[in-house]
């Protein structure tokens, strides 16, 4: 589709189907399941950031009468499974908090006590805690077998640089030769965490003969099944993974941490096992998002035509090679700009920190922050309005991206124009106040989604989908089914099926759920419509093409007769059995979502404290199925990005210990830290989706970094180049400048 459509149900602000359970406390999350005979598992974690494990002695813990099972790396059945060393370390620990051993005991407190009975002998190594140290020639090497991938010349020595990426279009040197003004800057961002409020947890039961069960909070229960089944050498059909309600993920619940450990403990003990991370374990051992060091150079003519864009990006992976989002960082950095000559070189670096996990638009916030800061400085140099500079070079339909495809219809022009005409852009600023504007781009993904709609005898339907619902997507599924079937939203319930109820579905990530799983819902609903028409035709003794489906009823166009879904479903037994529609798809055509944000920030020059005065988030949704939850994604992304820009960072001691693994010291935004966040939903339909949907969940975290970075810089008259801009750093910047 490309034209705007009239919708009956889509675009309304319905009450979400899971809402009642969530406001009453009935909704069951990862830690909410208890089973008869259940015991508690706990993980022993490394107190060192980098050390060789000489020996692990578990005999005292095993002798404890409260302890039912103890395990180490050696107890994982498949010793060659992928990712096994992050589940439990083998012969080396690579970060403070690295899992080393696990116990299951009669109570949580008993398990905690038993951990102290496990004796681990370490030889401590010097940790490598940042990019500069990791790439220096005298750095300790984390992995003797790590040779940099993607180098022009085959490396002969191991390195902490895991890989090199390169993307290029046009002729970068020719582009800079055309430039009359060039701005080049380097930026640094700190290690951050997704900060979901629900800690990782699971309850599992191993069954030797039949079907083992995992109940857990995850963005992808099929991925949990694949990983766990592989580590335990069991067939997927013998492992059912049930996705509990999920208390936030933001990419951080795509990975697997506890489940294989819990299942081995359950196998050893013969008991159901529950495990729940403490908050400090969440910060130490899950997430985080990469710290980065990124240099961006942009050249332009005096009229504002950008001639060349170049970036050199360094991303931390944590300890595990391949764990950084370097690829998307390189892909996204310059996409808001239609510029012929672009060049990006990226490096992934291993350090003694937890293995990095995806974090909302993984990689894009850091690289686009660097680009957008330079664009704003370039606008100042050229004496141009920063929105006008962006409009002059704007990416639009037909723009050749650096990473491959040409853009289809996208809404960046509309977002920039909406920013320019917004109330905030016209609001006057006072002393010590600054404004920043920034664009953001995320490509979005499609992928595999499986949906079944089971029609009940009364004509209502149950949508069973394979995508865990993090932010209200069940409401969207309900509305899309209602639209396709022309039946009221309340006619449908929506649930997340277990891995044994549905074929494989990709995890909830990449802003894919409302787009791809929505397409599967529409396909399943269309399947239901065609079956309803067939049954009505059989009843009337006409052909299905003589039946029209309109306003939720079958109409006989070859005579008289109207049948409702309830009537057809109620007599389905007589017309061929009960009806269910299926949509098992691999969705293509995810179209990018662009955003533009405005931040107004006041800085107290005496303390460096920042106050966000006004904030506006504008983004292209293609078509907003449920505008309330689309706005919520924009606002939530903005808040996370503001936290990233202003306060959030991992603080490590010199010996590599994480010093702030809690919400008191890793300070995410509070209600009192933020103003209302104005939103504008731009709708430039995605022609690949039946209703025009684009994924919208991730883009919103990208622009706040540079919008806030620029606002603070403008407020204090000093160009800030490091995140977070916490009060001490701002104060130092002010003092250094004066």
């Amino acid at each position: 589709m490309s034209e705007a459509q009239d919708f009956k149900y889509i675009g309304q602000r319905t009450i979400r189907p899971d809402g009642h359970d969530k406001v009453t406390g009935r909704a069951n999350y990862a830690a909410d399941l208890a089973l008869p005979g259940m015991i508690w598992g706990k993980i022993l974690r490394s107190p060192h950031a980098h050390a060789v494990i000489n020996s692990i002695n578990t005999s005292k813990a095993e002798a404890d009468p409260d302890v039912f099972a103890v395990m180490t790396h050696a107890d994982i059945p498949n010793q060659t499974a992928s990712g096994i060393q992050n589940i439990l370390a083998k012969d080396k620990v690579f970060y403070h908090g690295h899992a080393v051993a696990a116990v299951a005991a009669i109570s949580e407190a008993a398990a905690e006590r038993a951990l102290s009975l496990i004796e681990v002998d370490y030889s401590i190594l010097k940790p490598v805690m940042n990019i500069d140290d990791a790439i220096s020639s005298d750095s300790p090497i984390l992995h003797d077998d790590l040779f940099t991938k993607g180098m022009v010349e085959e490396p002969t020595a191991p390195s902490n640089v895991a890989s090199r990426n390169e993307l290029s279009k046009g002729d970068i040197q020719a582009g800079f030769a055309e430039a009359e003004v060039i701005v080049e800057r380097e930026f640094r961002t700190a290690t951050v965490h997704q900060g979901y409020i629900e800690p990782h947890a699971c309850t599992v039961r191993y069954d030797e003969d039949g079907h083992s069960m995992i109940w857990c909070s995850t963005q992808g229960h099929f991925a949990v099944r694949a990983t766990t089944a592989s580590m335990l050498n069991i067939e997927q059909t013998k492992l059912n993974v049930i996705a509990s309600e999920i208390g936030g993920g933001f990419g951080g619940k795509l990975g697997v941490y506890l489940e294989p450990v819990a299942l081995v403990l359950s196998k050893k003990s013969g008991r159901p096992v529950k495990m729940q991370m403490d908050r400090n374990e969440v910060f130490m051992a899950s997430g985080p998002g990469s710290a980065t060091r990124n240099r961006v150079k942009i050249g332009a003519k005096k009229d504002g035509t950008i001639t060349a864009m170049e970036a050199k990006l360094f991303y931390e992976a944590g300890w595990a090679p391949g764990s950084s989002p370097l690829g998307p960082a390189c892909m996204t950095v310059f996409t808001p700009y239609d510029v012929d000559h672009q060049y990006v070189e990226g490096f992934e670096v291993v350090v003694n920190k937890a293995r990095c996990a995806a974090y909302r638009a993984p990689g894009a916030p850091q690289s686009e922050y660097a680009c957008e800061m330079v664009i704003n400085e370039l606008a100042d140099e050229l004496g141009l309005d920063p929105i006008d500079l962006r409009l002059k070079n704007v990416a639009k339909e037909g723009t050749q991206t650096l990473y491959g495809p040409k853009l289809k219809a996208v809404g960046l022009v509309e977002c920039l124009e909406a920013a320019k005409s917004s109330a905030q852009y016209k609001a006057a600023l006072k002393k010590n106040q600054g404004r920043g504007v920034a664009s953001g781009f995320w490509f979005n993904v499609g992928g595999e989604s499986s949906v079944v709609i089971n029609m009940n005898e009364d004509g209502t339907g149950t949508i069973v989908e394979g995508s865990p619902d993090i932010g209200g997507s069940r409401a969207s599924m309900q509305m899309m089914a209602a639209e396709e079937l022309q039946m009221p939203v309340e006619s449908f319930s929506a649930i997340i099926g277990d891995t044994q109820n549905l074929p494989y579905s990709n995890p909830t990530g990449g802003s894919r759920t409302t787009f791809a799983t929505g397409m599967a819902v529409v396909e399943a609903a269309a399947d239901v419509v065609s079956q309803l028409k067939e049954r009505a035709a059989a009843t009337w003794n006409v052909t299905p093409d003589q039946v029209e489906w309109k306003d939720g009823t079958a109409i006989n166009t070859n005579g008289e007769g109207v049948l409702s879904a309830a009537e057809i479903c109620g007599s389905a037994a007589k017309t061929g059995g009960h009806i269910s529609g299926r949509g098992n798809i691999s969705a293509r055509g995810a179209s990018p979502s662009f955003a533009v944000h405005l931040a107004d920030i006041e800085v107290d020059p005496d303390t460096g404290k920042t106050t966000v005065l006004r904030y506006t988030a504008i983004q292209d949704a293609g078509k907003a199925i449920h505008p309330g939850y689309v706005e919520g994604q924009y606002q939530g992304g903005s808040a996370q990005g503001i936290g990233w820009a202003l306060n959030e960072e991992y603080v490590y001691s010199e010996d590599g210990k994480l010093e702030n693994p809690g919400f008191l010291d890793y300070r995410i935004p509070l209600a009192s830290d933020l103003p209302m966040i104005e939103t504008v939903i731009v709708e430039v339909p995605n022609s690949f989706h039946p209703f025009g949907v684009r994924g919208i969940g991730e883009t919103g975290i990208i622009p706040p970094l540079a919008a806030c970075g620029t606002a603070v810089s403008n407020a204090i008259g000093v160009r800030m180049s490091e995140l977070p801009m916490s009060p001490p750093k701002i104060l130092k910047a002010i003092q250094d400048a004066s």
């Binding site: 602000r13 009450i15 979400r16 899971d18 809402g19 009642h20 969530k22 406001v23 009453t24 406390g25 009935r26 909704a27 069951n28 999350y29 830690a31 909410d32 208890a34 407190a109 997704q194 900060g195 979901y196 409020i197 629900e198 800690p199 309600e245 999920i246 208390g247 936030g248 993920g249 933001f250 729940q276 403490d278 908050r279 993090i470 932010g471 209200g472 449920h626 309330g628 939850y629 706005e631 919520g632 994604q633 606002q635 939530g636 992304g637 903005s638 808040a639 996370q640 809690g662 919400f663 008191l664 995410i668 935004p669 509070l670 209600a671 009192s672 830290d673 933020l674 209302m676 966040i677």
Partner: protein, 159 residues
């Protein structure tokens, strides 16, 4: 360790339970009484997901011992509303789409109830500061504050 016998009124019901002197009220509510609507986000009083009312006073149940509830009146999310009839605060959270993942919602509903009992007509700033102990990572608080202000208005009109 010997367990202590505790009697408390929880959501209007007199409950008796045995608890270890080191058990938190949060553990007792969730693991002994099966009231899992009260959530654990941090265990250190920083996130507010475990908010409950003791004698109408707002507390983090992870910072209160189970034995301290002896003889007291405890109200949890399960005691808000009346059966299928939601409390106005709960209705407004749904109407305003003031939740996404929902893990912080029970704590926020409890804290909002405490706020509006203390101050039926809060300014936006007062609401933001009162609720600063309840972390939400999904919403950016905008819709939460709108729901709270709307609930306050509706409760004043209904009073």
């Amino acid at each position: 360790m010997e367990k202590t016998h505790v009697t408390a009124t929880v959501n209007g019901d007199v409950k008796e339970f045995l608890c270890d002197p080191s058990d938190t009220l949060l553990q007792v509510l969730r693991d002994e009484l099966g009231l899992t609507g009260t959530k654990e986000g941090c265990g250190s009083g920083d996130c507010g997901a475990c908010s409950v009312l003791i004698n109408d006073r707002l507390v983090c149940s992870c910072l209160v011992l189970g034995v301290e509830a002896n003889g007291e009146v405890v109200e949890t999310i399960e005691g808000i509303g009346n059966g299928d009839k939601l409390h106005v605060i709960q209705e407004k959270f749904l109407e305003h789409a003031a939740l996404q993942c929902g893990i912080c919602t029970p704590g926020l509903v409890i804290s909002t109830k405490a706020l509006l009992e203390e101050n039926p007509n809060p300014t936006e700033e007062e609401a933001r500061y009162y609720l600063a102990g309840n972390l939400c990572r999904c919403t950016g608080y905008d819709k939460i504050i709108k729901a709270v202000m709307d609930a306050a208005k509706t409760m004043r009109e209904d009073a």
